[in-house]
């Protein structure tokens, strides 16, 4: 091989090698353009922490049709990092994106991005009080943030700190409202239910419960039910057996209803449309009447797989009382959602996004 030929070959190689990376593929594609009037279920897929791969899926129970990643597919905009929950207000859906410190707002029929609430430290849940006021709970700020869902501005905050630096108390999670009082559970290394007066935007009371209350609901008689996981063994905060507790309507004291075995970690307390039955996860799906004429009964067996934990998310359709549970499988692939009738008979299975956990029901509406 002579020198010229070799130089030529090297040059050719150099010309062929450099190629451009396809970064623009992430936003240049045919977008989803739809307008769905029918009712349906939004599945909020957390995604993996720091991966920024959270998503929202939309499922139509009437047809069994599923649209995945509707927010990104419609807006060419990734939802963010760890989508925690979604709250509806009229035609708008507020998706709380925990590790992105924001709430994205979208139209629930077109999935169009319509705005955002930013400046939130580690938001968890949003609870709408009026057209112009909503509360956002937070893992780190030791405050409940007050926002205006209309102007999408942060308008204030409610200090919930107990002054103790150890364990970073109080973190706030889910919210339910009875009359003008909002109840929120403090889960992480904590054992309190805080009571917030929505007229004054301040804490007026707190209720002591078992360790680590992770979910709470109000039944049709306005009793407050609280599910506590008891904390993990070896926790510096201490641990105990988990339990289901109830705060009778108008009272500020919790009574123990039932206790779980050591090593069990119940979660996901919810109610059906009638608000006469309680549902929760403890490996499988359990159901219990609020009248306590029965003990919790196992309705659906948990998935049998070596990936740890059984079902990840649970909800019950408020209109049909059908049960939806999610299985995150290995947590790094798109998870499954199973749908059962109120008696636990399987109806459908569909694949949602990565780590599906919470759900949000969209009522039918005129466009």
């Amino acid at each position: 091989m002579n020198r010229t030929r070799m130089t030529g070959l090297v040059l050719l190689w150099l010309l062929l090698l450099p190629r451009c990376m396809q970064d623009e593929d992430l936003w240049q594609f045919d977008r989803l353009n739809t307008s769905l009037a029918q009712e349906g279920v939004f599945v909020i897929n957390e995604g993996n922490f720091t991966y920024g791969n959270a998503s929202v899926s939309f499922y139509d129970p009437a047809t069994g049709e599923v649209l995945n990643d509707v927010f990104y597919q419609t807006n060419a905009l990734p939802l963010g990092d760890v989508a925690f929950s979604m709250t509806l207000s009229d035609s708008l859906g507020y998706v709380v994106v925990n590790n992105s410190g924001r709430i994205y707002v979208m139209n629930t029929s077109t999935f169009r991005y319509t705005g955002k609430i930013t400046g939130l430290t580690s938001p968890r849940y949003m609870h709408i009080i009026s057209d112009e006021k909503a509360y956002v709970t937070d893992l780190y700020t030791r405050a409940v943030t007050v926002v205006n869902p209309k102007t999408l501005e942060v308008t204030g905050s409610i200090d919930v700190s107990n002054g103790d630096t150890r364990f970073n108390q109080h973190t706030t999670e889910q919210m339910v409202q009875y009359d003008r009082y909002v109840f929120t559970n403090c889960w992480s290394y904590d054992n309190k239910i805080l009571v917030i007066d929505t007229d004054r935007d301040e804490i007026t009371d707190s209720i002591s419960v078992l360790k680590q209350p992770n979910s709470l609901v109000l039944d049709r008689q306005h009793n407050l039910w609280i599910l506590c996981d008891g904390g993990y063994e070896g926790s510096p905060y201490g641990s105990e057996e988990g339990g289901l507790m109830v705060v009778p309507a108008g009272k500020r004291e919790a009574r123990l209803v039932c206790r779980f075995a050591p090593g069990e970690s119940p979660s996901g307390l919810t109610t059906d449309g009638s608000r006469e039955f309680l549902y929760f996860l403890n490996g499988g799906v359990y159901r219990m009447s609020i009248y306590r004429d029965t003990v919790p009964e196992l309705l659906v067996d948990g998935p049998e797989n070596p990936f740890g934990m059984g079902f990840y998310g649970l909800t019950v359709d408020p209109s049909s009382s059908e049960i939806y549970v999610s299985d995150a499988i290995d947590f790094v692939q798109r998870g499954l959602v199973y749908r059962f009738d109120p008696g636990g008979v399987p109806l459908d299975t569909f694949r949602a996004g990565i780590v599906p956990r919470s759900f949000c029901f969209k009522p039918a509406r005129a466009l």
Partner: protein, 666 residues
């Protein structure tokens, strides 16, 4: 003939370097001249093993950079890089970061706590020789390197008297680095001191596609131009080497490496919380020291080595909350202390036979605590390992190598780790050698995997790897041209692969649930043409890696069976081209990976997918001599084509950037 034998000895790899130390000075100079040829390809003591040495010109060219850069650009090791200056982990042959061992001057520096190494914290400044031990060849040094191991060595420059070197770098994004090396000594005693300091504000700008703003007029989504905030990198350290040759056949060395690194890690690019929230900071303070004595007599070589490593890692995450001030949400502090001892005896009773017995004892203490929640642990771990090795030459064309490694960890005996390798010389001109091996390897879970609070799983079993490989290596010099090539195919079957999964309690917990079958090919080629004043070097590597999840296929809905592991590219390759004429040089560096998946099911969803990576860098410079001093100046251009890209999901990387370097050498 004498010289030839010395050269062969030199080429033999790590043990050969000991030989240099005892050879009188004039031959050393001769040896340094043949150094270009790098490692030998037919040697009894490493028969069947694949060891690749990174060329010293590469280390020199990339002296201000991190080991992670050199590995990704000049070897088949895949580096997962979490951002400029941020955590970088290494994967060999499609295995996990914890399957890559790192040996520094004979001592393992993998964190006993995490079981892995952050390669962005190892500067090239401190490395004289860099060797990759692919796959089971790592068993020579340590068990558990299911993918392989990386050896970093320091070597004395006996032939140099007093020497001084200073390099100053100034780069984009407020990057400054300083490096000073001082060496002095005679043929008996030598000291080398290296001091370095790297700082980068790291405040590059990027179009943030993870944040969408609505244009109030058009309703269109726009993306802000953001700055990579809170991403400062600071790293400084000292490497002190002392070598002493009391007699012709003794070598005593004492090497100390201390380093402090302080980094803040940017929030996810999608973060739109308050600017005073989600702040964090990580400091890594390391002290490592190794004392060794090598004694050569007659037919034997004796080695005694003792090492100590201390690591202190602090991770702080805080939010500034009005009315409350700075509120830390995580403040995790860990301290790791390791003491290690090695005794080895190598004996050549007759020509063509080498036997070695080696005993390693390590003691680790790990303390880790999150001072906010109070969760933590304090554990100690003792390890003992015995290695027996017999290497035999059968005639002049066949070398056989048998090793048996036995390890005990925390009083538990691991199964025996055997290795059998062979080299067959097929031809002399060009020198063509067939290499093959078969082995079994075990990795005992790291302290975190067993005891982390919350989530450590004390029931974990060691990961087991059974592997085999075969390859060809070829080397030839013809006139002013020299060529070295290698091609290897391997198969590694790892069982009880450890995977972290969330538990019902909300924290993550490791389980022995996967089986991973990794198969692939590695090809390397280096070519040099050096007629007179002109010097052309071309070096490239290519790896084909099929690393498949072969765990449970029966799980309902599990789509991961048979799929490529996350973040492992099937194709990866790089090319370096260096052209020099007299004292002027230019280096072109190209690096590419095929797509990487971030889901175990290899979901093709655009958003969860990392598109193929193609990176071009260019550098050029010149060296001038003024009297005894040698001055150098160079400019490096990184990301030549100004690509905007991610190498990990939503961790933006910088566009085209520059680094200017000047140096002086006495």
């Amino acid at each position: 003939m004498h010289r030839l034998r010395i050269i062969c000895f030199l080429l033999a790899g790590s043990l050969a370097r000991d030989a240099i130390a005892i050879i009188p000075g004039d031959t050393v100079i001769a040896i340094e001249q043949v150094e270009v040829a790098a490692t030998g390809i037919f040697d009894r003591e490493t028969a069947g093993m694949k060891q690749q040495r990174v060329d010293s010109t590469v280390l020199l060219e990339k002296i201000q950079r991190s080991l992670s850069d050199v590995l990704s650009e000049n070897s088949t090791v895949f580096i997962k890089n979490y951002g400029r200056g941020a955590l970088a982990t290494a994967s060999f042959r499609g295995t996990a970061a914890s399957h890559t061992g790192v040996i520094w001057n004979g001592m393992s520096i993998s964190s006993p706590m995490a079981g892995m190494v952050d390669f962005s914290l190892i500067p090239v400044y401190i490395i004289d020789e860099l060797t990759m031990n692919h796959g089971p060849s790592s068993l020579l040094y340590k068990g558990g390197g299911l993918g392989g191991s990386i050896s970093l060595e320091n070597v004395p420059e006996w032939s140099r008297g007093f020497g001084a070197e200073y390099i100053q770098g100034i780069g984009s994004y407020g990057t400054f680095d300083e490096y000073l090396k001082l060496g002095a000594g005679n043929r008996k005693l030598r000291s080398t001191t290296r001091l370095y300091h790297n700082y980068s504000k790291n405040d590059f700008t990027f179009v943030n596609t993870a944040i969408g703003n609505l244009d109030p007029l058009t309703g269109e989504v726009t993306h802000p131009l953001d700055t990579n905030q809170n991403a400062v990198i600071l790293r400084y350290g000292l490497l002190q080497e002392l070598y002493f040759r009391p007699g012709e056949n003794h070598l005593v060395s004492l090497v100390y490496w201390g380093q402090f690194a302080d980094r803040t890690l940017p929030s996810p690019s999608s973060y739109e919380g308050p600017s005073n929230a989600n702040l964090n900071n990580q400091t890594d303070a390391d002290h490592r020291v190794v004392l060794s004595w090598k004694y050569y007599y007659g037919k034997g070589r004796f080695l005694l080595r003792s090492g100590y490593a201390h690591k202190e890692l602090e991770y702080l995450q805080l939010n500034r909350i009005p009315g409350l001030g700075e509120v830390p949400s995580i403040f995790s502090v860990s301290r790791q202390n390791s003491l290690s001892g090695t005794a080895s005896y190598t004996w050549e009773p007759v020509a063509g036979l080498t036997m070695e017995g080696k005993l390693d004892i390590n003691m680790h203490g790990v303390e880790s605590m999150d001072t906010i929640s109070g969760a933590g642990y304090d554990r100690s771990r003792n390890e003992m390992a015995f290695l027996g090795r017999v290497s035999k030459s059968l005639g002049s064309r066949l070398n056989l190598n048998l090793m048996m490694r036995q390890e005990w960890v925390e009083g538990k005996r691991l199964p025996v780790m055997p290795f059998f390798g062979a080299d067959l010389k097929i031809a002399d001109h060009p020198e063509l050698v067939l290499k093959a091996n078969i082995s079994r390897n075990y990795r005992y879970p790291s302290v975190n995997e067993l005891y982390w609070v919350p989530g450590g799983n004390p029931e974990l079993l060691p990961e087991e790897g059974i592997s085999m490989e075969a390859g060809l290596e070829c080397r030839e010099t013809f006139g002013t041209h020299s060529l070295k090539t290698g091609l290897t195919a391997y198969r590694t079957d790892v069982r009880n692969w450890i995977l972290w999964l969330p538990s019902v309690w909300g924290f993550w917990e490791p389980f022995n649930i996967e089986r991973v079958l990794s198969r692939g090919m590695e090809a390397e080629a280096t070519y040099r043409w050096h007629p007179g004043n002109f010097d052309l070097r071309v070096a490239g590597t290519y790896a084909y890696t099929r690393s498949e999840n072969r765990g449970e296929s029966s799980i309902l809905g599990n789509d991961s069976f048979g799929k490529q592991l996350v973040y492992i590219p099937v194709h990866s390759g790089n090319l370096m081209l260096r052209v020099a004429w007299k004292k002027i040089y230019a280096v072109y560096q190209y690096n590419a990976y095929s797509e990487r998946f971030t889901t175990s099911s290899n979901d093709p969803t655009r958003r969860d997918w990392l598109y193929p990576y193609f990176m071009n860098d260019l550098s050029f410079g010149a060296i001038f001599s003024i009297g005894d001093a040698e001055l150098s100046a160079g400019l490096k251009i990184f990301n030549l084509l100004n690509e905007s890209y991610y190498s990990v999901l939503y961790r933006p990387m910088p566009g085209r950037n520059y680094h200017f370097v000047i140096g002086i050498r006495l």
